[in-house]
């Protein structure tokens, strides 16, 4: 249906406004992180990067980064593996309980993470497990592994089952089919799921809050500082955490292109030498 020119302009403007609305708080934090003053007031008069220096020197920050990275790394690997198989059960095979299974996967996403975090805390207590960064991995998985499954499932839906059947007709075993046909075809989905899992775990706060015990992740530490009063390190570390996410995101987007480009160069070289 035709929409008038004015309507279109208004809608585009609204869309741009929405993006600005989403990122405005990060702009404020960005400015705050380079303010020299110990107590922040806008407009900022003196700019300095000294809080960045302080943050990078601090050993607490180092510990936080290690904890956050370890959790995110392990969550990513587990999510990719269970998400891969889960997505096949979700989208590829027509089995008896598939529809029920799909709904079960979706259910944790509908639960507030704070409530899930507290429930997990009690569960660990009932099991006699002392909460630490290891229990936080289990906590992150409750939200992140279903999302990984959904991301891979999108890819699995566009998968042509005839490819698997052809391999089977040629006498390939289930394991060979999985290795040689299914996995390579779903790989782009698995990689996006890994990216999602890593970034969501890296930035997660509500699930970590109750489940890390004496350990602390970066978002958790920032929250503790925010609640107890202003510290100039909070905006600085907040921005550093965002920068880390952006770098990972860009790397994930650019590395495959770079690889293709290098391969292309190599092929050209071969052609010349012939």
């Amino acid at each position: 249906m035709e929409t008038s020119r004015t309507t279109r302009i208004v809608l585009y403007a609204y869309g741009i406004l929405a993006i600005l609305f989403l990122y405005l708080p990060l702009v404020s934090i960005g400015f705050a992180s380079v303010s020299k003053a110990r107590y922040l007031t806008f407009p900022i008069r003196d700019y300095s990067t000294r809080w960045y220096g302080k943050a990078l020197e601090s050993s607490t920050v180092g510990d936080l980064l290690v904890t956050s990275l370890t959790i995110a790394g392990i969550v990513t690997v587990i999510s990719m593996v269970v998400g891969f198989f889960g997505a096949l059960a979700f989208a590829r095979y027509h089995w008896r309980y598939r529809s029920l299974f799909q709904k079960f996967i979706l259910l944790p996403i509908f639960f507030p993470q704070t409530v899930l975090g507290l429930a997990l805390l009690m569960w660990f207590n009932a099991l006699g497990v002392i909460p630490s960064w290891k229990t936080a991995i289990v906590a992150h998985l409750v939200w992140i592994s279903p999302i990984a499954t959904l991301v891979i499932a999108i890819r699995a839906y566009s998968f042509d089952p005839a490819l698997e059947e052809a391999a089977r007709d040629m006498g390939a075993s289930t394991k060979t089919i999985l290795q040689e046909v299914t996995l390579p075809l779903l790989m782009p989905g698995v990689i996006s799921a890994g990216l999602f899992a890593f970034l969501l775990s890296w930035g997660n706060f509500p699930l970590s809050l109750f489940t890390t015990g004496a350990d602390s992740t970066l978002p958790e530490w920032l929250y503790a500082k925010m609640v107890s009063g202003y510290s100039p390190l909070v905006p600085t570390l907040g921005i550093l955490s965002v920068i880390a996410s952006v770098i990972i995101l860009l790397a994930a987007l650019l590395v495959p292109r770079l690889v293709t480009y290098l391969r292309f160069l190599k092929e050209q070289e071969l052609e010349f030498s012939e």
Partner: protein, 284 residues
């Protein structure tokens, strides 16, 4: 083939099923069990009584529940009105811009929600980005707009914006253009098309988006703590206090159970409304 599909489907479902049993169902069962324990015990080996639930009724915890549900409802309503035009444009008007908008929104989700809320504190506080610059420009003194109920609702709207936007856009994209075209040709007004075609046909997306933002907002904690400065105590806050300062796990569990019962009912209802094969694009 069918038997093979059954076997393979079951086998492939096992790993994530196991993970979710361990991290989702088992914890919820433990909370349910703890909620019927006598007050202030830390183990499950006690004779059950329902005193924790009695305490909830007697001590006026229902006030927090009303605040949580009320603010969740308000933010859902605001979100619906804010997101509808944008979701409509994403589904029917924008071309490439839909992709840009989608990426921008998804990337914002990768930033920790407390960092983003903290950014709003710096933006809205007295001497913050907005008030500070206004004062420097016009020399007018104003109070910050933090620490009240509307700003908490604002925070909820901000954080759960994507959870309304995407399901709505998905729902609207399922409204066939032919139906809208036919209604226009027959002389229906814009409002009538909205009322009799868009809204009913996009209903699955509306239901999912609204339920998702409502349940997530009802269990939210950081918005009221950071932006609201605890001007009102929400349900998740009461639960946290009962577990930490109160050291009363059965009470905390009973409070959680109230929240879980409401959220769980809505969530199961919402999930049952989603036709995943259709939304995620099965071609067969």
């Amino acid at each position: 083939m069918e038997r093979l599909d059954n076997k393979l489907g079951m086998l492939n479902a096992l790993p994530i099923f196991f993970v979710l049993m361990l991290s989702f169902l088992a914890p919820l069962i433990v909370v349910a069990a703890f909620s019927v324990m006598p007050q202030k015990v830390f183990s499950l080996f006690n004779a059950p009584d329902f005193s924790a639930y009695m305490t909830i009724v007697e001590q006026g915890y229902w006030r927090s529940l009303v605040w949580s549900l009320g603010m969740a409802f308000a933010s859902t309503a605001v979100l619906f009105i804010l997101c509808w035009p944008l979701a409509f444009a994403m589904a029917k008007v924008f071309g490439r811009f839909t992709l840009i908008l989608t990426i921008a929104v998804v990337v914002s989700l990768f930033v920790s929600e407390n960092i983003r809320l903290f950014g709003w504190i710096l933006t809205l506080m007295k001497g913050g980005l907005i008030e500070g610059h206004l004062r420097a420009l016009f020399g007018t003194e104003m109070d910050g707009v933090l620490y009240n109920v509307p700003v908490i609702v604002f925070g909820l709207v901000y954080v759960y914006f994507p959870f309304m936007l995407f399901p709505l856009a998905q729902g609207i994209s399922m409204v066939p253009d032919d139906a809208r075209q036919a209604a226009t040709d027959l002389g229906a007004s814009r409002w009538r098309i909205l009322w009799e075609i868009d809204l009913p046909l996009a209903a699955p997306g509306i239901v999912v988006g609204s339920l998702l933002s409502f349940v997530l907002a009802a269990g939210a904690l950081a918005e009221s703590k950071l932006l609201g400065g605890q001007v009102v105590i929400v349900m998740a806050d009461e639960v946290e206090t009962a577990f930490t300062y109160g050291q009363d796990w059965p009470l905390g569990s009973a409070l959680s159970m109230v929240l879980i019962a409401i959220i769980g009912t809505l969530a199961i209802f919402g999930v049952s409304k989603v036709d995943l094969d259709r939304i995620m694009g099965r071609k067969r």
